[in-house]
């Protein structure tokens, strides 16, 4: 409990320093608003922020789910057929060096101004951490253990069902935790480029009106969304292993 209080204490201290600095230096609100002003903006525009947060969350979740399904499927296929792994995995790793957001303008051009380009951006940003982490976890499953199952008569698909997938899911969830943070960023970047709603769109709109307190309020919402998705991912992992254990005992 005490350990959890330390970062909280640091946060309060940082906010206090921020508040005091802004007050003493009389920093204009359109440059750097005080934390109190940000909270006031949060409360004042709660409904607008909630509506736009929901749009961003919706895009993030749809993109994340698609990325999960794609990464799960492709990782399994690559693991099963090593030729595919050897052919594509290095490309996947190299492709991670490309900042996906640079594709944003192209996606807007190709898919218009609707939800599609944002979701695709989220998929691209979330897919790589999941597939890389899951693929590596699948590859690390002990060959001895696989062969041991085969001496019991296990077929290929049984090796995956009984051993490889349950063990590899540790890697899957590790990747998912990273992706859960990236996916909100993906949606925001997509909204910056072309949108009619969402936190990214909201941020651009209020920034153009020099309402920097509202920009910070939106940033706060982004942090909450990212943290929430991260926590949800951890809960999902716990639920998966609990279900795995209970499901097999029934």
């Amino acid at each position: 409990m005490k350990r959890k209080l330390y970062p909280l204490g640091s946060l309060v201290l940082l906010l206090a320093v921020w508040q005091v600095a802004v007050t003493l230096l009389k920093t204009p609100a359109f440059i750097l608003p005080s934390p109190v002003a940000v909270v006031q903006a949060l409360v004042a525009d709660a409904s607008g922020l909630l509506t736009n947060s929901w749009v961003t969350l919706y895009e993030s979740l749809i993109g994340l789910v698609i990325a999960c399904l794609l990464a799960f499927g492709t990782a399994l296929v690559m693991d099963r057929w090593q030729l595919l792994y050897q052919s594509f995995y290095p490309l996947l790793v190299i492709s991670q060096t490309l900042p996906v957001m640079v594709l944003g303008p192209l996606l807007s051009l190709w898919f218009g101004f609707g939800m599609a380009p944002k979701v695709i951006l989220v998929v691209l940003m979330s897919y790589f951490p999941i597939i890389v982490s899951f693929s590596e976890a699948l590859g690390k499953v002990s060959k001895e253990q696989i062969r041991f199952l085969q001496t019991m008569g296990a077929k290929d698909w049984q090796v995956y069902r009984i051993l490889k997938i349950p063990q590899g899911m540790q890697g899957f969830f590790a990747g998912l935790r990273i992706a859960a943070t990236y996916c909100v960023s993906g949606a925001i970047i997509g909204e910056w480029l072309s949108a009619e709603a969402g936190l990214g769109y909201y941020m651009i709109r209020v920034k153009n009106g020099y309402q920097i307190d509202k920009v910070f309020a939106a940033i706060f919402c982004v942090i909450v969304l990212s943290l929430g998705l991260n926590v949800a991912t951890r809960s999902l992992q716990k639920l998966y292993y609990r279900t795995l254990i209970q499901g097999r005992s029934s």
Binding site: E144, R147, F148, Q150, M152, I162, P166, I245, R248
Partner: protein, 245 residues
């Protein structure tokens, strides 16, 4: 019903591991393989299960040559290989699950009782002690109906006390549960205590240097204490061949 190894040789990456291993293991016997460290005892078990191909010679089980991965044996590797997300019940019935066989719950309960695990049947492996994990792994091996058991240092990771208890317990198992068993061990006493026959292998490249038969009227710790000369004899054999003098 027998396992016949004839002039078995194995070379891996230019390293000769086995050279002209010849032996017959008769049905119903308990045979221990003992050899200096790194000689290739476990390799021999892997050859039987088909996990490793032989370079020369032949391996025939019940008249059928072993040419690749097979399910003729119930194999217990050095590591217990328990699946951490499965409880004791699920781990021991893995063979039945893989082969879509019905599990006789009464039989399972009887065996769990016999193995002292009935109170722990819903426990996960991480909740068990080392000795209990080994018993679970051994029970899983027993649940496989294959005629032959291959046990690769099943008690190697246990402390001396627990190992002794496990050996006593293994001997006390009902005859109905006992099958043709090949045990790999580095423990000379364990080999003498449990086996009908001991095959002493040389250092790499391994071959059989001594074939010892044991037929005591009563097999217990008192009898084992009288086997000191045999223990010394085997020790000398291993020492002569060991890299560490």
């Amino acid at each position: 019903m027998a396992i016949t190894l004839e002039h078995v040789g194995l070379t891996l990456d230019d390293l000769e591991i086995l050279n002209d291993v010849t032996a017959t293991i008769n049905a119903g016997s308990f045979v221990s393989l003992i050899a200096p460290s790194g000689a290739g005892k476990s390799t021999l078990l892997k050859i039987l299960t088909g996990l490793l191909p032989i370079s020369t010679g032949s391996v025939v089980v019940d008249g059928q040559p072993i040419t690749g991965l097979n399910t003729t044996f119930s194999y217990l590797p050095q590591e217990d290989m328990l699946l951490p997300w499965l409880n004791v019940d699920q781990n021991i019935t893995l063979y039945q699950r893989i082969n879509h066989q019905a599990v006789d719950q009464d039989h399972v309960t009887d065996l769990l009782t016999l193995f002292g695990l009935v109170a722990y049947r819903h426990f996960l492996p991480r909740q068990l002690s080392g000795g209990m994990r080994q018993r679970v792994a051994l029970l899983r091996t027993m649940m496989n109906p294959a005629n032959y058991l291959l046990l690769d240092e099943p008690f190697g990771a246990l402390d001396a006390m627990t190992r002794g208890l496990m050996q006593d317990w293994l001997l006390s198992l009902p005859t109905a549960l006992k099958r043709t068993t090949v045990l790999v061990t580095h423990d000379i006493e364990e080999a003498i205590y449990l086996s009908d026959r001991i095959l002493v292998l040389s250092a790499r490249p391994a071959h059989v240097v001594q074939d010892i038969s044991l037929t005591p009227a009563t097999r217990d710790r008192e009898w084992l204490a009288t086997q000191a000369p045999l223990k010394t004899e085997i020790y000398q054999l291993l020492r002569e061949d060991s890299d560490v003098k």
